[in-house]
């Protein structure tokens, strides 16, 4: 009797232990930890990042997010190293380098079949140009940006110059820059465009560096529209109203435009970006925003961009990663980031309308800029744009910037760029496609 009782008790205890182990094991298996690398800055302060994660984890108790917050300057090296190593890449990361795109998971089906989110909520231009790659959606857009001209209203008032308007022309730009130039105050009227690949070329000349079918640069690089754009650049450089490349090398903020000069009132106008708006706002400077000037009748183009957050193609938890991605890049996460990080501009138009300074003139000017056609829309279908332009036209650009050629030499200089430009295009198209 006792023996039977003992056996039953033992069996029951064993079952109980197995059951408990099973429950424990199941609970441990159910909790997934995602790794997520991000950067911290004005657009996403560290507390805001943690708040988004806390909000997500509250909604998804079985998913934990192990976030690594790193410096902007550190991210590229780390991500490049991990991708080159082929392991140790996090489940979720920024894919802002084109070289990393093949490592991102194709999320087209997830996006199109998920009732919680839709591509329609995103700004069309930013979505199509920045997260669609090889007809796949490989990320969701994040903080969006664009280049536009910021003008310092105090400087304009000081010199008695009327503010620029939305439809101003390249000639207006030069005339205003000259009117704002003030030697005594070491003030320049405006800055110079920082590269031939930006929107300026399109706005000034309504042209591309080569034909739409990617076969020839002849008549494009050196066509009348291109000559007009470069002659305008020559006039601007020789107006004496802009800082030289050497001035900007010393006084400009690396890679982001001369925002510090602008804030100090030593630059009446500058081609800057949304982050500059926030810096300027915090510095208490009275400013306005207008699109880059364009030739009357030309379509308005803008050099815009969006960051891309994506899932690693070899992630072991793609489903959970998708849940976080759509939360982070969707309205819930973007709202938290926008409200807690003044420099964050979501790619979701409905949220942009809720921005803290939405009723200001400068912010409305910024929204207007966002609606212009992006240079990326042509560049995306013409991957040799940069190769051809930089190689083929950069010399002409530099010669003008350095004051090495006369105005009547612009045509001949561009003609001389046809051969190297064509060679670059011919080399590039078979490699990257037209």
């Amino acid at each position: 009797m006792n023996n039977v009782f003992f056996k039953k008790a033992l069996t029951l205890a064993s079952l109980l232990v197995l059951l408990l182990c099973g429950i424990g094991g199941a609970a441990a298996q159910d909790t997934v930890t995602l790794t997520w690398w991000t950067t911290s800055g004005r657009d996403s302060p560290e507390p805001a990042i943690r708040n988004v994660i806390a909000a997500f984890e509250a909604e998804h108790p079985n998913i934990k997010v192990d976030v690594s917050i790193m410096a902007e300057g550190a991210y590229n090296d780390l991500m490049s190293t991990a991708i080159a190593a082929g392991e140790g890449v996090p489940d979720l990361a920024w894919y802002w380098s084109n070289n990393w795109l093949p490592q991102a998971l194709d999320i087209t089906d997830r996006l199109d079949n998920d009732p919680d989110i839709s591509r329609d909520i995103f700004h069309t231009e930013y979505f199509n140009n920045w997260v669609v790659w090889n007809d796949m959606v490989i990320a969701l857009p994040y903080d969006i940006g664009a280049n536009f001209v910021m003008y310092n209203k105090d400087v304009f008032d000081d010199e008695g110059v009327p503010y620029p308007t939305q439809d101003w022309t390249p000639e207006d730009y030069i005339e205003i820059a000259k009117a704002l130039r003030n030697e005594d105050k070491r003030r320049w009227g405006g800055d110079r465009p920082r590269g031939p690949f930006r929107a300026l070329w399109r706005n000034m000349g309504a042209t591309n560096p080569y034909s739409d079918d990617s076969t020839t640069v002849e008549g494009y690089i050196n066509g009348p529209e291109s000559v007009a754009a470069y002659t305008w650049l020559w006039d601007l450089v020789n107006s004496g109203a802009t800082p030289t490349p050497a001035d900007l090398e010393v006084l400009g903020t690396e890679g982001t435009g001369p925002v510090d000069l602008f804030i100090a009132g030593r630059l009446g106008m500058a081609t800057l970006n949304p982050g500059s708006m926030v810096s300027t706002l915090e510095a208490g400077v009275n400013f306005g925003v207008v699109p880059e000037p364009r030739v009357p009748g030309n379509e308005n183009w803008v050099h815009g961009w969006a960051l891309r957050a994506g899932i690693w193609k070899d992630s072991e938890h793609p489903d959970e990663a998708w849940e976080f991605l759509k939360f982070w890049n969707g309205p819930p996460g973007q709202r938290i980031l926008m409200e807690q990080g003044l420099g964050h501009f979501p790619p979701i138009p409905s949220l942009l309308a809720e921005y803290e300074h939405a009723d200001t003139e400068w912010y409305q000017g910024f929204l207007t800029v966002l609606d212009a056609t992006q240079t990326a829309s042509w560049r995306k279908d013409h991957p040799c744009w940069r190769g051809a332009v930089i190689r083929g036209v950069r010399d002409a650009w530099d010669l003008i910037m350095l004051g090495e050629i006369e105005r009547d030499e612009v045509q001949a200089t561009l003609d001389a760029m046809v051969e190297p430009g064509q060679a670059a295009l011919d080399e590039c198209v078979p490699r990257l496609g037209g």
């Binding site: 657009d43 902007e72 991990a82 140790g88 940006g145 982050g275 400077v285």
Partner: protein
């Protein structure tokens, strides 16, 4: 008693000559000091500008004319910089890494160098050349293999990848120390050996005390390199609170702008330990560098 006028004149001439020599020496010293002070001012200028910038408002950073001494110093910039990111924590992390690396270097480098300097063993020269060749390999090339290695060892996001290499000896320091030890007469080893000292006794009682100048160089350079190291911490560390100060400073450079006034304040504070170490170690350091025969 009469004094010969000719002798008086000669002694007066000698005195005059001595006075002139003293005056010339004085002028010479004055010129040298003036030049050195001027050079010191030039070298101090960036640090002074850094301090000045750290006390400005953003709109004053590029103002013309520049304000060398801000009329309204913003001392709150320092509090803002240290409040925005855990910089004090980052400095402590750096101090820990420095200490751990110095201990590692002091434990490993003399022992390895002693082997190369005092013992003969098979393939000694080949090993020495192999070790030297490691100095020629750029650090970036080793980064990916090291990343994979530490990842598979489960050491990513720990301080081990930043500390462990020091305990296996740096080729540069081993080379320095080997060359230095070779200049120490072997007769001292023999004398110690007669007195009953073994190899370890000779190393710790004879060689290492005589290597103090070279060890100072090892300590100071390890301090500087570890304190300033940026690349390896960003590759091997993940936790926001674990970064060293070199990485912490990079947070002030955002995607679109640099918060110069905060960045300068934080940088100024971060270089204080380096200045303090250099201040106290400079005599030994210069002596050590001269003894080893390397120039900065």
């Amino acid at each position: 008693m009469r004094i010969d006028p000719a002798r008086l004149s000669a002694s007066e001439q000698l005195r005059r000559s001595a006075r002139q020599r003293r005056a010339r020496k004085l002028v010479g010293h004055a010129i040298i000091y003036a030049v050195m002070i001027a050079l010191a001012c030039v070298f101090m200028l960036p640090i002074f500008w850094m301090a000045s910038t750290s006390l400005k408002l953003p709109r004053e950073l590029m103002a013309w004319p520049p304000e060398w001494i801000p009329s309204n110093p913003q001392w709150g910039n320092y509090a803002e910089a240290f409040g925005k990111y855990p910089l004090a924590r980052y400095m402590l992390n750096s101090a820990f890494l420095v200490a751990a690396n110095i201990v590692g270097a002091l434990l490993s480098v003399p022992v390895i160098a002693y082997g190369f300097a005092r013992f003969n063993f098979p393939f000694k020269n080949v090993l020495f050349i192999l070790m030297l060749s490691m100095m020629m390999v750029p650090g970036h090339i080793k980064l990916i293999p090291l990343y994979v290695l530490y990842l598979r060892l489960g050491l990513i996001d720990t301080y081990w990848p930043l500390i462990l290499p020091a305990y296996f000896g740096s080729p540069f320091f081993i080379f320095l120390m080997t060359q230095f030890m070779r200049t120490i007469p072997r007769e001292l080893d023999d004398a110690a050996r007669i007195d009953g000292a073994g190899p370890w006794g000779i190393l710790y009682r004879i060689i290492i005390p005589l290597c103090r100048p070279a060890l100072t160089v090892v300590v100071v350079f390890t301090f500087l390199w570890t304190w300033n190291d940026f690349l390896e911490p960003i590759i091997f560390l993940r936790d926001y609170d674990s970064f060293p100060i070199s990485v912490g400073l990079a947070f002030f450079q955002g995607r679109y702008s640099i918060e110069w006034h905060l960045f300068m304040g934080a940088t100024l504070v971060s270089i204080i330990p380096i200045l303090v170490v250099y201040f106290f170690a400079q005599r030994h350091l210069i002596g050590g560098l001269a003894a080893i025969g390397i120039k900065g």
